[in-house]
Amino acid sequence: MFQRTQNINLSPIKTMELLASKISDVVSLAQGIPSFDTPSIIKRAAIKALNRGVVAKYSLTYGLSELRETIEQKLAEDNMFYDFEKEIIVVAGSIDGITAALIAIIEQNKDEIIIFSPDYTSYAETIKVSGGKPVYVNLSEQNNWQIDFDELSAKISPRTAAIMFSNPNNPTGTIFSKDNLLRLAEIAASNNAFIISDEVYKDFVYSDTDYPKPNEPIGKALFSLAEISELRKRVIRIFSLSKAYAMAGWRIGFLHSDEENIQEILKTHDSLVTCAPVISQHAALAALDFAGKEIDMFRYEFQRRRGLTCKYLNELSDFFSYHKPIGSYFIFPRVLKYPQTKVDAKKYKNYLTPEQMESPSWQFALDLLYQARVAVVPGLAFGPAGENHIRLSFGRNKKDIDKAMGRIRKFLTSNF
């Protein structure tokens, strides 16, 4: 029974949230959702669509035609040219898109998917669900979490179906340079592997300053391999509206690639969800058309919160070292010292795997949860190179960040 699911684990982020939900007054910097509500202009569009009676039926599996037209226009603004009729699929959040793409490309003798460590925690499980094998390639912490090309070249093989990564990276906030991405594309091409580029944080790329002034232009454009027309057949790009438009619960995003790939991915997307939720598609249309200013506001706020979180971490430099993130809303500090007082991880064996119970980063996350009442994500959740780190989200509001970091400071300073 359950043979397929035996080796699949619940996302560690969800495990932490589950454990945190049983304790009162926990401040969570664990979940990767923004503190903002969906902008009202988007909600109004959804209500309008609901009242017009246009959300009860399925849309085309590709998604609403007018939404895909808008997506094509938005992509063109970012120098990516895709045909809305044949090369764009609206998906139910990025995980639907990733799963649909993986199922389509994984084959019996080409079943390995290279993912970076650290990178998004759900990739490995999604690969397993799709019938593939995750192969980790560690990012180089010394080199600001950039790609270790020696390790990549060593791990890639004819069995590699794809290299999949988030850019900006979740959890490190790193951005891969254009040169590095082009080098990666060359390596993928020489092994006939796809590239799955998950760019859900592409709107949150920051300037150097910690506390930008209102209306100060801070956003930076992110280079995507999907801009290179020669790579259209190799690159599958995923975008979700969850983060950029504070629409995580709406489950809406899109993917695009060359027509040849999309025809196949469409079949798996159809089998998985038939179509993305239609009410969310109408909301997404309004988001892409009208919510540009909200993204600017979010980016401005996140940049200030990044500054705030870094300030706290600088004060705790005996305990943490970190690379300042350029994108996303995560920071991934290395834990330099572990506290003396520890909770017994074995008490939570119903929730944790044996590997997690032995992991220092899990131990530290449990210590913070049960002793400081702060939920964070243990670094091991992001693959082997994530060990001895924790992920902190500065997507939460200032009050939560102040409270959480204050508690962490108090806990650490009183336990050494």
Binding site: V54, Y82, S229
Partner: protein
Amino acid sequence: MAFLLKNFLQSILKILAKTYLWRRKPLVIVVAGTANRHWLKENILSGFNKKKLLCRVSQKNFNAEIGLPLSILGIFPDENQRGKINRWFFALKKGLKIAFKKNVGEKEVLVLEMAIDKPDDMEYLLSIARPDIAVFSAITMIYPENFDNLDEIAMEYRKLIAALPKNGLALLNADDRRIIGLGQYTGAKVITYGVENQNADYFAQDIQKITTGQQFKIQTPEMTGKNIEIKRFGKHHIYAELVKEVILNKIINDQIPITIQ
């Protein structure tokens, strides 16, 4: 209350837009159809820009009873401005200034959309602005909820094409049978474009998808086999390119139907 306010706003905007059109007498191009309006507008704009002619294109979704007059006046109220009343007060104040501006400036080309959500919408929109040129893309099942079928949508477009002046111009997608059927309801000159119907006046053939986009040849009454390469994918971009070609050849070079300088 909200209904009354909307009606009031709608009436004032209509008056201001009509005043603007009466004083400035721009060349009005209306892009209609249920798909591909954005790229058609972009290509029309690019055609006029190529010849350094003043051209203004409506923003997306500013195409119905409130949006159309705003597009004519070139006002795009900030949805993020606090308070609906504030927002509209500033929009009306700005509209008043634009409509009655002393210096009417040089002749401009206005590229507008007219959106129809339900039967009879078109009549109201035509009471605001009359087109000199109408470009029709396609009729697809995008806004089905208030129409029984696609023929009903075509009936609305019939009103638009019938509103063209005798010296006006209709650009019809020859690949869409409902669009091509509209030709009989106008006294204006009709030019057709297409990629499937070989009888189209502007016909794209030998279409090839290449790594960087698409290549094709344009066959027109004036020339044969003009090679075009675009950095865009999808048939809809070929339609847009054909329309641009008509704009360059017929409207700008031949000055049909209306002198624009």
